[in-house]
């Protein structure tokens, strides 16, 4: 039997009223007396369910509604309309029994006390979440070792690097072993090594605790490595919900043909086979990349082998980030 969903969102809407200022000084003076407001539909009628243990990636451009959805799920924002249930609770009620079971980590907002060492926030969270001493010691030791931050626990947070701070943020958020994690851009601003370390850690946490995780990120690597399922949101609307690899089937129009030639081939000759993305000569190596419609890829490859001095040929799917970029740019949703 498949597990029951622990997050249920039905026809969720969250609209904001935004003040619109006319440009210039006159606009500022006018705004003293009369202000114009515009309603922004940050989340516009989205529905989805998430089961225990799932790791789901929220993908979307800036302002698409990803963070707003996470904030509604955490009980921070009051939904304009729709129903939301997390772990059987209405998040807006902000019941302590609910709050003890989830964590919201925002890459751009600190929960650590800026002027005190991270250890002080850990102790505060221990008290707030009423974590028993032995569980606290055990969780802390484990998290500190996994994230390798033992030597910085007693240094003021403001003196730590961004990566060190993010690791400490994660520890502070996980000391009470939450069942549900909302991660909003957890790797933002981090270098690639640190991004990888955090991803590995999130994956391990999911496996060990069977935790349910929703992750938003601008880095497709985060989503590709952690999430089997993706939800794409655009302008507040849900446009895709399914396995990550299905995005390719649904949206990829082309395949990529990478070619190596034994002799020089002109760009004009290549153009009759497909869209030339790259065409260059590197010493004695002649290479080119073509985009061809998915259904014709095999036939075009065969023609290329027959008609041109092809030394090597590869047919590949385009990278997922390119597909998503194309989806958003073309408005083909």
């Amino acid at each position: 039997m498949s597990p029951q969903p622990i997050i249920q969102v039905k026809n969720l809407r969250r609209h904001f009223k935004v003040y619109q200022k006319q440009p210039g000084l006159m606009g500022s003076i006018k705004s003293l007396f009369k202000r114009k407001y515009k309603t922004v539909k940050a989340v516009d009628n989205i529905s989805f369910e998430i089961k225990r243990g799932e790791v789901v990636g929220f993908i979307g451009q800036n302002g698409a509604g990803k963070t707003t959805t996470l904030k509604v799920l955490s009980g921070l924002l009051f939904p304009t309309a729709g129903e939301v249930s997390v772990l059987g609770f209405d998040p807006w009620d902000r019941k302590p029994e609910f709050q003890k079971q989830f964590s919201l980590i925002m890459g751009q907002k600190n929960q650590l006390w800026w002027d005190l060492p991270a250890m002080e926030t850990f102790l505060l969270n221990k008290a707030i979440y009423e974590v028993p001493n032995d569980q606290f010691e055990q969780s802390l030791n484990k998290l500190v070792d996994l994230l390798q931050v033992r030597d910085i626990l007693n240094i003021q947070v403001r003196k730590l690097s961004l990566g060190q701070r993010m690791k400490c943020e994660l520890i502070a958020a996980l000391l009470h072993n939450p069942q549900v994690l909302f991660l909003d851009e957890p790797t933002i601003g981090l270098d690639v090594v640190m991004q990888k370390a955090l991803r590995d850690f999130i994956k391990a946490y999911n496996q060990e605790f069977n935790a349910t995780i929703i992750l938003t990120s601008h880095y497709m690597d985060d989503v590709k490595e952690l999430c089997e399922r993706a939800i794409i949101i655009d302008k507040g609307k849900l446009i895709f919900d399914g396995k990550l690899h299905n995005i390719i089937d649904k949206y990829a129009r082309n395949k990529i043909l990478s070619l190596v030639f034994s002799q020089a081939v002109t760009k004009q000759k290549l153009e009759k086979f497909g869209q030339v993305k790259e065409h260059k000569q590197n010493g004695s190596a002649y290479t080119a990349t073509l985009l061809v419609p998915r259904k014709k890829a095999a036939a075009v490859a065969s023609d290329l082998l027959k008609e041109l001095p092809v030394e090597d040929l590869n047919i590949e799917e385009p990278p997922i980030e390119a597909i998503i970029r194309e989806v958003f740019q073309s408005g083909n949703v």
Partner: protein
């Protein structure tokens, strides 16, 4: 989930301790804040000492009475007022409040304990500063035979609570605008003139006194000192207590409404 072994208020004691730790990081800010309060008290006492240089009474007060009044009111003012919530509206407007709102902690109790931490620390300094002022101005305390210590303490606690709620209301402005400095500034100006900090309110014309008594300000230092100095009739105690309670309940109700409306308007990110 493991059963909690924590006493209910334990988490708030930790909040209180950490607030102190944070204040100690910015020692200079705290020292300058105290210096400002000290100089303000010193100025008020100096001005009144000058007024009495060539006369024995002014506005119905003898020099000793007036110096004693100003001395006591400055001490009390420092205990009742607090600057611990000055950053609240900014916290709400910028969305930093979110990290508190998602945790299993009562936000008001947490802010209340922050305020308490601030008051305890201030109280220690007020004692020290009062000793210095005492040796400079040598007020002669004339307390009445009949004392009302318990009522006095209750009135001080109620005044501190009223002030706390007013500060929460100013903080709530952050749900709509970052602009809470202006209204708060105006509030403190009014307070200085109507809470009896600079002079006892009974030296004001009757009509102004009547207007001032329609606000909560006279209950935020003036009436307490009048009680302490025996300048109130026993039959005034009950009406004043009831008025303070009415202000407390009324402000709590207003705050609840504003906070609920604000939370629904909260964007958790800065607007």
């Amino acid at each position: 989930m493991a059963m909690s072994k924590y006493p209910k208020l334990f988490k708030y004691i930790i909040v209180l301790q950490q607030y102190w730790q944070n204040l100690f990081v910015y020692r200079m800010s705290f020292v300058v804040w105290r210096l400002r309060q000290f100089l303000s008290s010193f100025t008020a006492l100096s001005v009144w000492s000058v007024v009495f240089a060539n006369q024995k009474t002014a506005f119905g007060y003898a020099q000793d009475e007036m110096i004693t009044y100003i001395f006591l009111v400055t001490v009390l003012y420092n205990i009742i007022l607090s600057s611990s919530l000055n950053a609240l509206s900014g916290e709400i407007y910028s969305g930093s409040m979110s990290t508190k709102l998602v945790k299993p902690i009562n936000v008001f109790l947490s802010l209340g304990f922050q305020d308490l931490a601030h008051k305890i620390l201030n109280f220690g300094f007020v004692i020290l500063e009062s000793l210095i002022l005492y040796f400079i101005f040598k007020p002669s305390f004339i307390f009445p035979n009949q004392s009302y210590e318990l009522i006095f303490i209750a009135w001080v606690a109620l005044a501190a609570l009223i002030c706390f709620i007013i500060n929460l209301l100013f903080g709530s402005i952050g749900f709509w605008s970052p602009d809470s400095w202006g209204p708060r500034f105006l509030f403190y100006i009014f307070l200085d003139f109507t809470a009896g900090k600079l002079y006892p309110l009974d030296i004001l014309p009757n009509i102004i006194q009547k207007i001032v008594y329609l606000t909560p300000f006279p209950y935020m230092s003036y009436v307490q000192i009048q009680l302490l100095l025996g300048r109130l009739q026993p039959n005034q105690i009950l009406p004043i207590t009831l008025t303070m309670l009415a202000w407390t309940v009324g402000l709590i109700l207003i705050f609840k409404l504003v906070w609920q409306k604000g939370l629904k308007n909260y964007t958790a990110m800065g607007q």
